[in-house]
Structures are given as C-alpha cells and as structure tokens.
Symmetry: C2
Subunit: 127 residues, 2 copies
C-alpha cells in the first residue's frame, strides 16, 4: 500500500466525517479541489452543489450517519463501501462511492445507492 493510497483513504475517511456525519461544509471544503465534478444525479455540480447538498442534509436528515465499511484505493482513486442511515433505526442504504484525487484534493465523485432489503436470498448481508 503506497503512502499516496493511505493519504487518500484518510482524506476520504475525513470527508465522510465532515460532509455526512457532521454536515460541516467548511470542514469538507478543505478536502476538495476548486473543481469538483459531481456524478450523483441528485446533487448539483461543483463546490457550490456540495454546499447545497450538505445544507439540505442538515435540514432534512440531521441524524444521517455514514458508517464506512471498507475503503479501497487504486492510483488516484479511492472507493468507499458505506452504510448510510438517514433516520436512526431504519435499515438504511448500501452505498459505494468513487472519489478521484488531483494531488491531495478530491476533484470528482461517482456513487451508486441501493436501499437495504427486508429479505435476502442469502444470509450474508450487503456488507
């Protein structure tokens, strides 16, 4: 594991903490670049889009939490496998995020989200 991969994983860990758990745009802003290309179709592009999204989370889902299950790194990319819970007690959502770095800043984000099911064809869970 290269030191770049470790540094980037640590930045993503902090990004989840700042953006999702604390809903603190100013803290999250320190981790992203001046250009932030957004691929989540519910979030507007750029740094301003992230700010609006975090504002919305704080208003609509103040108890939203992201629990990081695994982080992977390859080159300038970090992948996060995350359990998102909007409202305490709910089953929540399985999320895989992909973050691309330019130097030490996050500059692009893709994700895929799926609600955890009530029932499963196997006993292994989604994580």
């Amino acid at each position: 594991m290269s030191s770049t991969a470790e540094r980037n994983k640590q930045a993503v860990r902090e990004f989840y903490e700042y953006a999702i758990n604390r809903k603190d745009f100013t803290a999250a802003r320190s981790l992203i670049g001046d250009r932030y290309t957004q691929h989540n179709p519910r979030i507007a592009d750029g740094v301003d889009g992230l700010e609006s999204f975090i504002d919305e989370l704080r208003t609509r889902f103040p108890y939203l939490r992201a629990e990081v299950k695994q982080l992977y790194a390859d080159g300038d990319v970090v992948i996060g496998h995350v359990h998102g819970i909007r409202v305490p007690g709910q089953a929540g959502t399985a999320i895989i995020d992909i973050f691309r770095f330019d130097e030490d800043k996050i500059v692009e984000h893709w994700d895929v989200m799926q609600p955890l099911p009530d029932r499963s064809a196997n006993p292994n869970g989604m994580f």
Copy 2:
C-alpha cells in the same frame, strides 16, 4: 500496478463477459472458487446460486449486457463500475461490484445497483 492486480482485473473482465454477456455458467465457473460468498440480496449463496442466477438471466433477460466502464484493484479486491442494460434501448442501471479473490479465483461478491435517472441535477452522467 502489480501483476496480481492486472491478472485479477483481467479475470473480472472475463467474468462479466462469461456470466453476464454470454450467460455461460460453465465458462464463468472456471473463474470462481469452490466457495463463492454472495452479498447481492437477490442471488442465492454459493456456486449453485450463481448458476441459478445465470439461468434466470438467460431466460428473462437474454439481451442483458454489462458494459465495463472502469476497473480498480486494491490487494485481493477488484472493483468494477459497470453499466447494465437488461433490454436494448433502456437507460439501464449503474452498478458497482466488488469482487474478492483467493489466489486467482473469485470467492466473494458485493454490489450496489441504481437505475439511471431520467433527469439529473448535473450534466455529468453517472459514469
């Protein structure tokens, strides 16, 4: 990029081709271990679960295609960012798969799936 990462990515490329595009369980079987731990809640556990799933795809979605957009590797894991289209002409589904290897065989699979939206808050697409 280590040779193990390249070898595992190539195996995952072949797995998409065999399991999803050709729907050929026998070919896909050569890439997975004797134990295959399944985390997709719609697929039964193990090698037999994969066989039933591929049989179902062949019957219900004979034209289903997976287009691999990106592959990432970290340690014994390969992550695939994939566009799945069940029926030609449909917008399809954004998928991120995580495959864990033991030696040169795939032994565990997680994924998250999300339908592509009609509209997006940004112009960047989900890939």
